[in-house]
Symmetry: C2
Subunit: 337 residues, 2 copies
């Protein structure tokens, strides 16, 4: 059995209070006492029980990172940065994947699961249904929303400017002389914020360039997966006039889309230019390398952790919105002919 505070106290011939003071680095402990206690701790190989500590203090030292799918590169790269950032703040991270399951997202927010196991939630949700967030409102689990959503003043919130990011991507396609610019990633049924915003950016950019494109050029994609990108691009390539550029709402979609272009016997960027959003490492090594809108995930992660720790300290502080920077990275998939 692991040694307890009491064991150490007995061995060192002091009270548990004193041992606790030493362990938690309390200032007012005489050097002699400290010595004696330290020796006992080492002798017994004592380590404080975090569960007991948690029960007493109410702090677990853990954060939950909730993402749709951890194996989507954008999320796993984000998770890496979040874990690192959390470590700097003394927190550990539990990862939950909701797997496109709204019910599971709901349960998580409601605390039906084993909430209370963590001090706060970093939530990168599928949907931004207000009702969902309303539900959470009554619970007092600190929450920071990641990556999307319109800021409504109720929750802390770290996101990029989706409209502008999309506009920048499409403007880039315009700049290299493309006129028949399609898009992949709209979501037909649900009120997801990200696709709506990116669609808005796409349309704005077309307007600004004075371009008109067929309505079918805006293609839906259920998930932002390679497969969905592939299928959507195949459909686009069958249209006439055929698009000469595709703006994908994620790099993963773009990877699938590029593959579809090749399978159709065409080439990127000569026949069809492709640009994505995210800047995952995969795109830097693909052939051709993928032009994209780079999101600063280390920044996003650090800000998110900073915000959540602040909120844990001060639950009633006003909600803050942090807009993360983005920048266009032009690579081979949009090289000029």
């Amino acid at each position: 059995m692991p040694a307890t505070l009491r064991d150490v106290a007995d061995l060192a011939q002091v009270s548990v209070r004193t041992v606790s003071n030493v362990v938690s680095g309390y200032a007012h402990v005489s050097a002699r006492m400290r010595q004696r206690v330290q020796r006992a701790i080492e002798e017994l190989d004592y380590r404080p029980n975090p569960v007991a500590r948690t029960l007493r203090t109410g702090r677990t030292g853990m954060l939950a990172l909730v993402v749709p799918e951890i194996d989507v590169p954008y999320f796993s790269e984000l998770a890496r940065d979040v874990i690192d950032a959390a470590a700097e703040f003394g927190y550990r991270v539990m990862i939950d994947q909701t797997g496109h399951d709204h019910e599971r997202e709901r349960r998580l927010l409601m605390g039906d699961d084993r909430a209370m196991l963590f001090d706060g939630i970093l939530f990168s949700p599928l949907v931004t249904k207000s009702e969902l967030l309303d539900m959470h409102r009554s619970k007092h689990m600190p929450l920071v929303l990641l990556g999307e959503h319109e800021f409504d003043g109720r929750y802390d919130h770290v996101a990029i400017d989706n409209v502008r990011a999309a506009r920048d991507a499409v403007a880039h396609l315009v700049a290299i002389g493309r006129t028949r610019i399609a898009a992949i990633g709209a979501q037909p049924m649900e009120e997801y914020a990200t696709p709506l915003q990116r669609t808005a950016g796409y349309e704005t950019a077309l307007e600004e360039a004075g371009l008109e494109v067929p309505a079918e050029y805006a293609t839906p994609a259920a998930h932002y997966s390679r497969t969905d990108g592939y299928e959507a691009a195949r459909a686009l390539l069958a249209l006439s006039p055929r698009p000469d550029a595709i703006f994908c709402f994620s790099d993963l979609l773009a990877v699938g889309a590029m593959r579809a272009v090749f399978d159709a016997g065409l080439s990127v960027p000569e026949d069809v230019a492709v640009v994505g959003i995210d800047d995952i490492e995969e795109g830097r090594f693909s052939r051709p390398s993928l032009s994209t809108v780079s999101l600063d995930t280390p920044f996003i992660a650090r800000e998110a952790v900073r915000r959540i720790t602040a909120r844990i300290e001060e639950p009633d502080a006003p909600a803050e919105e942090v807009v993360a920077p983005h920048r266009l990275v032009a690579r081979e998939s949009t090289a000029e002919a």
Copy 2:
């Protein structure tokens, strides 16, 4: 403040014992009592505090998954499967990344961190230094090793047959007529098990085919990253005679290697065939699509979770070794000319 067991008991006019019985599904509770308690639970929106429960029972319901880097596709795809498998067994998963840091691996195994927060560790380590495992031996945290290592009878252990997997990959290159077969992924200094075993498989296959290749054909790679694959391949392509095939110890290395081949003005598979190990989704969409040795990660994940739960129940059961299946998947990167 969240409601406690005591609050529910007071409202329902019963003892905490009875409430606890109802909550934990104890059989011998009268229907009337159950009714009354249920109503109180709902009224107060009561949810048991998992921390208190843990302090009492010693079980946290959490597993730790320890990997070098969560953003390496193989690990993130494995993590997805582990999280899913754990959920089926009623466990949640905390992910720790050690980031190629042996010290951190050591601390984790020693329980210097906040161990005791989870019931068991699924450990996919960098190194298999016996000393490291010896250290853990004294602690009684259930441990299952993933993916590598020679089985030494001390720990549960889910892995593929690395030697055979490597041999299969190289034999495939032989079968399509390649004779100057290089390898990327040996680790120069440290005693990592996986690279050693895969190197052994590589050499065995060459021998079986009666092929002799220059010693420089076996190239090291510090990490199994795209960049390392790129650099290693660049070096290989400068050799003369130039290799006509490269066996990469991971798909990520292979992705980098393919890119290096193109940047050298050569093509895959015509000039240089490439095969990897892992079967990450990225390889299915790359151009050309990547031939690889497919590892059954859902199987690995399920077995690992099954083993750890068994060990949690019965700490002194003899260690078991599970060998996960693998199979060669031939795609475009090794297509015959």
